[in-house]
Symmetry: C2
Subunit: 382 residues, 2 copies
């Protein structure tokens, strides 16, 4: 693959009632154009990751919407795959560069979720699930609670194990000024937080978030003289059934396993080579499952490693330095792009207080729905 | 470009109350797999064009939805750009093949529109327009009526000129068993049909339609031994402002002009080389404007040519042999894919009663919104 990242930016994530999606996108796009030190006329296409602008905002046609915002008549495509929309937009951006039709493209992820009633948001999010699940009144916390129960039974995972994920990610978020919850929580606070869908509690769940993220991809390695060049060395998508009922094993996401296998094959990298990882911890159990599915730990062993601090800043590999979806926030269409921005920043030494020392290779893992889509990118600093 | 089409299929277009989107997609996918004589395991990715499943159907995550339907864990991406969603899905499929990451991919366009109140459909379609237009209560017939007024004033276009487009496209549809309205209409019927948004009348407007279309794209020219090989020699997207108020000229779509110029450059083809064309005649005026924007006729001259039968079966170039959006129907996310299917069928001699003799080169023109997105593909039989 000959795809390089020359800039990356995110807004502050959170309840951004004072800004529109347009404002958020303008901010990150201006930032990446500045970082890349290119004129905006060098951007040849835009790929937008977004899930809910149609159902919540009544706005479709986001590609042209943001091309107009940029004042460019360039190709613009909205890409959607539920909470993996951002990762799919990055994948599509990679295809664009690799095709040879485009030299430099902009990938943007954006979501505006807090302007609506939480129950409305919960309802439209289930657009990512199966019909049967929606008819049964299931929501995402309930679906992940079912997975948690299976993982607990199969691998003796405990509620405390889940809580350690939240504590770690909140610690990382406390070092990230762009995080929605930039503060620490204690194990006790997590365990005593209100039950949402047993055994998942409030502090096991990622929040509803507004936010945007952007990267610039280019074929030209020399485009970023000032910057270290980060290459995307694997870009892989896999899918699984929409609904849990059709799956063989609820303690693993098959799409993640397939995507990871293919990504390691594509890049020639193995999990032990990876310094820093952003995984899709929409719920604490999801991070435990992801660490196992991606091959960082054997099945049933991730919880112990997380508890021991292996994946905390200072450990190896460090997981969710941004604070993850849990503490950094989860603006669904933006998340997959933000993960790539976080790894890009880590690999170029711009991680700030949460910098992983000497990070050279990183991985992002973005999931749609309850695992029907998984997108993995592996990034390497050249 | 090294992208070849080895199969193409559409459902019957119309008010398909007895079938679900799932049924429609299954039908066209099984048909293209049969045509291509490949096993479904050869399909490496799916690109879905769809606009309204979210706002009307409450179903997002269509990529994974249809991958599950196929029983494959392959990458699946939904692509959206209003009524150009299908064209954008074809473009993204081309990027996938050209990237080298995929050898054979499926592109599907699908829309289910007739299960909802027409006023609901009109409202959600405006998700493709600008905020100001929506707040002003404008709908697409009104927006195109404004363009019609400008074209009339500038180029002395008449209501009769518009009607000739409808008469021609209904004639073509009368030869197409898959068309929503497979019958002829007279000039008088068009002119006497009820006014929708003056000067546009009912028979100037494309309908609300259910339908799906699919193609298989591959890099391997030998994949279709039995079939003539059709190559995509240009795949171009351009954008313009969402709203009409921000445009300099309402008698032309800037995105179409840019896309056409780039498509001719990319393929080395000029309009005079093209035998058969599918343009985005969401309203009769749109076909007149498209014929001028794409360089088939000088500005202000298309009406006369259409009236004289230049673009009717037997003329040159023949335009909208399917019946166009007007008479074949306009299931928005499917339209851009269906146009490619129609040209594929023409170039491989499967046009049936509407076959254009010796057609070797064809063009498709798919528009999103009132012209904010334009997608052009040029196909050539090798």
């Amino acid at each position: 693959m000959d795809v390089n990242i020359i800039a990356g930016s995110t807004t502050k994530f959170g309840e951004l009632w004072h800004v529109s999606p347009r404002d958020m996108v303008r901010q990150v796009v201006e930032d990446v154009i500045d970082q890349a030190m290119i004129s905006r006329s060098k951007l040849q296409a835009i790929f937008i990751g977004n899930m809910l602008s149609s159902s919540l905002g009544g706005q479709d046609h986001l590609g042209a919407f943001f091309a107009e915002e940029l004042g460019l008549s360039i190709p613009a495509v909205k890409v959607e795959g539920a909470c993996a929309s951002g990762g799919l937009a990055v994948h599509t951006g990679c295809l664009a560069i690799m095709s040879g039709l485009y030299d430099t493209v902009l990938v943007v992820g954006v979501e505006k979720m807090t302007d609506y009633k939480p129950e409305t948001v919960a309802s439209v999010l289930m657009g990512a699930g199966s019909e049967a699940e929606r008819e049964a009144g299931l929501t995402f916390p309930a679906l992940y609670a079912l997975m948690t129960r299976v993982h607990m039974k199969k691998w003796s995972t405990t509620e405390k194990d889940l809580a350690y994920v939240s504590v770690k990610n909140h610690f990382h978020a406390s070092l990230n000024s762009h995080a929605q919850f930039p503060y620490q929580v204690t194990l006790e606070q997590v365990l005593k937080s209100p039950v949402i869908a047993s055994p998942l509690k409030l502090l096991d769940c990622s929040p509803i978030t507004d936010g945007a993220a952007a990267i610039i991809l280019t074929r030209n390695k020399k485009a970023a003289i000032r910057n270290k060049t980060v290459s995307i060395i694997a870009s892989v998508v896999a899918t699984d059934t929409l609904g849990l009922a059709e799956r063989e094993d609820l303690s693993s996401l098959k799409a993640s396993v397939i995507a990871a296998k293919n990504a390691y094959h594509q890049s020639g990298i193995s999990p032990k080579d990876i310094d820093v990882v952003e995984v899709h911890d929409c719920f604490t159990i999801a991070e435990i499952i992801a660490m196992e599915d991606l091959g960082f730990f054997p099945k049933g062993k991730a919880s112990f490693a997380i508890k021991e601090g292996v994946t905390k800043l200072g450990g190896y590999p460090v997981v969710n330095t941004s604070g993850g979806l849990k503490a950094s926030g989860h603006p669904v269409g933006a998340t997959g792009v933000k993960q790539v921005v976080e790894i890009y920043q880590q690999l170029t030494g711009r991680g700030g207080k949460k910098q992983v020392k000497d990070a050279r290779i990183g991985l992002t893992h973005n999931v749609g729905g309850s695992g029907a889509t998984a997108v993995i990118h592996i990034l390497k600093c050249l």
